[in-house]
């Protein structure tokens, strides 16, 4: 409790179980999410239209032919979004040409991109449920990928064992990195946001350093890139090559089942949620809050480490370690967790959705020249809007627009 009596132990994403729903009629969360998407897509479309060269050329003659501006803008926007859809879901251009498996190429890419996003989303979400904001998924992922990669390209082990060992090492590395932040929080109250941000950069520097050492540097290369992970340590593909969806997806689903079970069915999960709801109450009830923070961060770090494994062992950077192994997943995963409201299965759907955006963005860029950064814009806007349901309701004049969204009460550095 803070000095002025406000409860500040509320987590960022309030659990919205049936017990919590207010009796008065409230806009359904899915409606808010849908409207957030629409708004974000519209904003993205406006950006495409405004920056589109033919549209800008047409705008110079706006007074003589105003219709041309709009048709040109509409053409640019629709072409970009259609390509985005075709790259992520279904592509009529390649459908039915040759190999049947190629018809699934967009879906495979979506699932492939969703795999690490789901894992990072689970990582961030689990920490959220314990009242911790883990911004350090990036660092934990990097450590996991580095450790798993090292095992993958240095050791020689029999096929299945090699993969399992690499996965375990990656998970442990991520868990240790996450656990440090949890330990610091438990021991000294150091705010996890600060420590995890800093540890992201420490991890990145460690990786950069490692890539200069003989242990990690690819022989004969003067670039910061490691050798290639041996075939025995790679995550097996689920569909015939070149489709990239791999065992990592099954691991992500298994992790979701595990986290869902942990949170709702296990004693530990109850403790995690109790600490997340109110550390003070949990402490009064005899729970060891500090140890719970460490446990939560260890598990979260392990999940991020697993995401790192899926990057390096699943071919994210062509099975070689570079300093781009994170690929922005650490922060995209935060948006996945926020969209999934820190719950395991919604996180999977959020991961699939953003995975589809990631998959489609490559097609969109190659076919229409629209920058892949559009996806980052859409993604961040969606999360920005759903974080403030009151804003969306106010924009669309929905009921309860006066509700200030106090449920999403923030907590400060000293919290």
């Amino acid at each position: 409790m803070s000095a002025d009596g406000t409860v500040k132990d509320e987590i960022a994403v309030p659990p919205r179980g049936p017990g919590r729903r207010k009796s008065r009629s409230e806009t359904h969360p899915l409606v808010v999410i849908g409207l957030s998407f629409v708004t974000a897509i519209v904003v993205g479309g406006l950006l495409i239209a405004v920056t589109n060269q033919p549209t800008r050329n047409a705008a110079r003659h706006f007074s003589s032919s105003p219709g041309k501006v709009f048709s040109s803008a509409w053409h640019a926007v629709s072409a970009a979004y259609i390509a985005l859809f075709e790259g992520g879901v279904f592509d009529p251009h390649t459908f039915g040409h040759g190999n049947v498996w190629h018809d699934f190429s967009p879906l495979s890419e979506t699932l492939y991109n969703a795999t690490p996003l789901i894992l990072v989303g689970l990582c961030v979400g689990l920490a959220f449920r314990t009242g911790l904001f883990n911004i350090g998924a990036q660092g934990q992922l990097i450590l996991g990928a580095t450790a798993a990669g090292y095992v993958g390209f240095t050791w020689h082990l029999p096929p299945v064992i090699h993969l399992v060992v690499a996965l375990i090492v990656g998970v442990v590395a991520g868990a240790v990195w996450g656990g440090i932040a949890g330990y610091l929080k438990a021991r000294s109250g150091a705010h996890e946001v600060i420590t995890t941000i800093m540890m992201n950069y420490v991890a990145l520097d460690l990786l950069n350093y490692a890539l200069k050492t003989t242990a990690f540097r690819r022989p004969g290369s003067n670039q910061a890139i490691s050798p290639i992970v041996h075939g025995t340590a790679r995550l097996g593909k689920l569909l015939p090559s070149p489709l990239r969806v791999n065992l990592g997806l099954l691991i992500a689903v298994a992790a979701t089942v595990g986290v869902a079970w942990l949170l709702t069915r296990s004693r530990l999960g109850f403790t995690l949620r109790a600490v997340g709801a109110s550390p003070t109450a949990a402490r009064t009830a005899g729970m060891n809050v500090g140890r719970t923070y460490v446990t939560s961060m260890v598990i979260a770090g392990g999940l991020a480490g697993l995401a790192g494994c899926s990057q390096i062992l699943g071919g994210g950077t062509n099975y070689a370690l570079t300093n781009a192994v994170d690929a922005g997943l650490g922060f995209d995963g935060i948006t996945v967790a926020l969209l999934g409201r820190a719950k395991p299965w919604p996180t999977v759907w959020a991961g699939l959705l953003f995975g589809a955006l990631r998959a489609g963005s490559a097609t969109m860029q190659s076919r229409t020249g629209t920058s892949i950064d559009l996806v980052t814009i859409v993604q961040s806007l969606v999360v920005l809007f759903i974080a403030a349901p009151a804003f969306v309701r106010a924009v669309f004049r929905l009921r309860n627009a006066s509700d200030s969204g106090a449920a999403a009460l923030a907590k400060g550095w000293n919290g």
Binding site: S2, A3, D4, T6, K8, A12, L47, I48, T51, N52, Q53, F133, I135, L184, R187, S188, G189, A190, H191, V193, I194, T195, I197, M198, M199, Y201, V202, D205, L206, N208, Y209, K212, F331, I334, T335, L338, S371, D373, L374, T376, I377, V378, Q379, S380, V383, L384, A387, A388, A390, S404, G405, A406, A408, L409, A410, K411, G412, W413, N414, G415
Partner: protein
């Protein structure tokens, strides 16, 4: 500046009451000093070649009054420094220093350990003296690298003192850098670019303010999301507008160096401090302005009251939300300016994600500097020095190869140690990050 007429209402800044360090703390900190001293003496003293001198150039070429090079016998220097530090450690355990004296001991320890490290590193092979104060020298580069960090940190201090967490410094800097490059090129005027950068930073800050203050969104979540938004926006606009036409949109002119008459001729500090671009001078002014604003004006008193105890501030008639809005906007402008220094101030074009984590180092400087402008500036200078040292070490051949990436971790590790209470506890403004539900 107006004399504080509300003196009777002065809310004291959280001053820690002098408590003698506990026995355990004394033994721990004393032992750390002894270990540091011994390590310094052994590694930099015995580790450097006997008879080798470290040479430092004190006057950059073209200085009006030249000074002879400074020559330091590296081994003797490091040995003396190491023994002195170890002695201070013993003193700490046996007799203890006052808290004030201990701060000096720590500061001098860091200063001398770094100096002996530098002397040691110069005994490797380089015969050319190390330039210290020139614009490309170790300390000159420190100032250059620290300017965006200082401005970003001041932005953080402004926001967080009023109770709004600003994790979006990085994003504000990024849009500032983008807008600076874009409008600086279009207008062919550095000043226009700088102002555009400040306004762009303020736009992101406005979103931060509205969502944090009006819609009560978790401010850390908000900051993270806004960083992503800024990254996406600048990346998208770069691809769509800038990259195809970089000559007409991403080609800022060079910002000329202005030497201040008289001051610029002072030996040593003249070329270091007063032979810089206008952005650096602007930074000097802003450092003093923010410090005075926060601690010597009515507005600052109100800001700090709002950041510490909004309800109390509201009770005496301060408009909490308005105060926060304005502070966040000022912060956004400072962060945007910090970004503009990277393009306009450096006479270089925009590239995607060009801030590269500087906003987070600035945030670290805010925290490391204990949310005070002076502390934040000091921390930013320290972090700038670490970066400058990184580049300098990479081209002087040190006796033993120093991995520059490990050196790059120092700011982050220092901040972790600071928040974990290993070098004295840091404490945020009491209401930092807590939305005010009142009016």
């Amino acid at each position: 500046m107006s004399v504080d007429t509300t003196g009777s209402l002065e809310i004291a800044t959280p001053e820690i009451v002098e408590v003698p360090a506990s026995r355990r703390a004394r033994i721990v900190s004393g032992s750390v000093l002894i270990v540091v001293g011994v390590l310094c003496a052994v590694a930099f003293g015995l580790g450097s070649k006997a008879g080798h001198d470290a040479r430092f150039r004190l006057s950059p070429p073209g200085a009006k009054y030249t000074m002879p090079n400074l020559v330091v016998p590296a081994r003797i220097f490091a040995l003396v420094v190491g023994i002195a530090i170890a002695a201070a450690g013993f003193w700490r355990i046996k007799k203890d220093f006052s808290n004030r004296a201990m701060k000096w001991v720590i500061a001098l320890t860091i200063l001398f350990v770094v100096s002996s490290f530098l002397c040691w590193s110069l005994t490797g092979k380089s015969a050319t003296p190390l330039d210290l104060f020139g614009s490309g020298g170790l300390l000159g580069q420190t100032i250059f690298l620290a300017v965006p960090l200082i401005l970003g940190a001041l932005a953080g201090v402004m926001c967080e003192r009023s109770g709004v967490i600003n994790v979006a410094i990085e994003g504000q800097m990024l849009v500032g850098a983008f807008a600076g490059a874009m409008f600086g090129t279009i207008s062919k005027n550095a000043a226009v670019g700088t102002i555009a950068g400040m306004l762009a930073g303020a736009v992101i800050a406005a979103v931060l303010a509205v969502f944090a203050i009006k819609y009560v969104v978790n401010q850390v979540v908000l900051g993270v999301v806004l960083n992503l938004l800024a990254l996406g926006l600048t990346g998208f606009l770069y691809d769509a507008v800038m990259a195809p036409n970089s000559n007409s949109y991403n080609n800022v002119g060079t910002l000329s160096v202005l030497k201040i008459p008289l001051l610029g001729n002072i030996p040593i500090i003249g070329p270091l401090l007063f032979d810089q671009t206008i952005i650096v001078y602007l930074t000097y002014v802003l450092i003093f302005a923010v410090d005075i604003l926060l601690f010597r004006t009515r507005w600052g008193l109100r800001t700090r009251a709002v950041g510490e105890h909004p309800k109390a501030a509201d009770t005496v008639g301060i408009n909490v939300r308005r105060t926060r809005y304005i502070n966040v906007l000022i912060g956004g402008m400072l962060a945007g300016l910090a970004g503009a220094t990277l393009t306009v101030g450096d006479s270089s074009g925009f590239v995607k994600n060009m801030t590269g984590g500087r906003g987070f180092i600035a945030l670290a400087a805010v925290i490391f500097g204990r949310w005070s402008p002076r502390g934040a500036v000091g921390a930013a200078l320290l972090f700038g020095f670490a970066t400058s040292l990184q580049t300098v070490l990479s081209f002087i051949g040190t006796p033993v190869q120093i991995p520059s990436d490990l050196l790059g971790m120092l700011p982050y590790l220092a901040t972790i140690f600071a928040v974990a209470g290993l070098v004295g506890r840091v404490r945020a403004p009491a209401a930092d990050g807590e939305p005010y539900e009142g009016r």
